[in-house]
């Protein structure tokens, strides 16, 4: 009896855990299928296209949260496409669809001229400001990527963070 109850509890837990797993999966980019590791130096300079096949620009930098090892943003350099000078926008990594093309990665971002023009810009190399929730969250919202508060930092970072 006790054993049956235990089994029941365990299977219920498994169902719950499984459910949570699929929720986490749904929050990520379902279109990203690239079963390999990509090196940071390979990503830099990679050209990004939109689903219409237009070249939006190249990835200039990758920004990492050291505590979690999570890539938060890719900095996209969109000069020519907008017909203006070099403009850099911060885009959450989850906004990209990364697939495999030959032995390279192919990056697609759902963005037209208008979307890029209105996108939050990055000036210089002051990436520190992108760390704070107040700055980062609206960028995630703009690119329709679910913002998840970094676990380790939400607990460890005092409220006095600039």
């Amino acid at each position: 009896m006790n054993l049956i109850l235990k089994t029941l509890v365990v299977s219920l837990l498994l169902v719950l855990v499984g459910g949570a797993g699929s929720v986490a999966l749904a929050a990520k980019n379902p279109a990203t299928h690239y079963p390999a590791l990509v090196s940071a130096s390979e990503i830099k300079g990679t050209h990004v296209k939109n689903p219409q096949g237009q070249d939006l620009g190249a990835i200039d930098e990758v920004l990492i949260d050291p505590d979690t090892g999570q890539v938060r943003f890719a900095i996209l350099d969109v000069g020519g496409f907008l017909g203006v000078g070099s403009t850099r926008v911060a885009v959450p990594l989850g906004a990209f669809q990364i697939t495999q093309e030959g032995n390279k990665s192919k990056w697609v971002l759902d963005a037209d001229k208008e979307k890029l023009k209105n996108a939050p810009k990055v000036e210089g190399k002051n990436y520190q400001r992108l760390y704070t929730t107040t700055v980062a969250e609206p960028i995630f919202v703009y690119w329709k990527v679910t913002w998840i508060e970094p676990e380790s930092t939400s607990a460890a970072t005092p409220a006095s963070t600039p």
Binding site: N29, K44, P66, D67
Partner: protein, 127 residues
Amino acid sequence: MNTTQQETEAATLLAASEIKGAKVTNFQNQDIGDIDELLIEPATGQVRFAVLSVGGFLGLGSTKVAVPWLAFQFGIDGSKTKYLLDATRERLEKAPRVEGKNYERLYPADVAEPIFGYWDVEWVVTP
């Protein structure tokens, strides 16, 4: 170095190109090498490994080892980030090596998991 300060507390985002070339020291404050590359899993955006180039410290030719990102500890040294790794000479000597740029081989769990085990980092299977 104050060992109680070694907990991760960088409170910033690090640019990949800044990390590349960064010097890594061990807990004995010895310079053990520098970060040569970061390996990222695109589906999750997780930095799985840093490739550490350890030449002089081992007294050997240039050797590259794959170290799970979460094995590093971060500190702040002025305005720069300090990279710490709990690695003696012996630990580095026995660490799983990386040959060339064939990083793909580090992706499968049967290769990656033992490396995580070696560096005492919990292996978490991502969905």
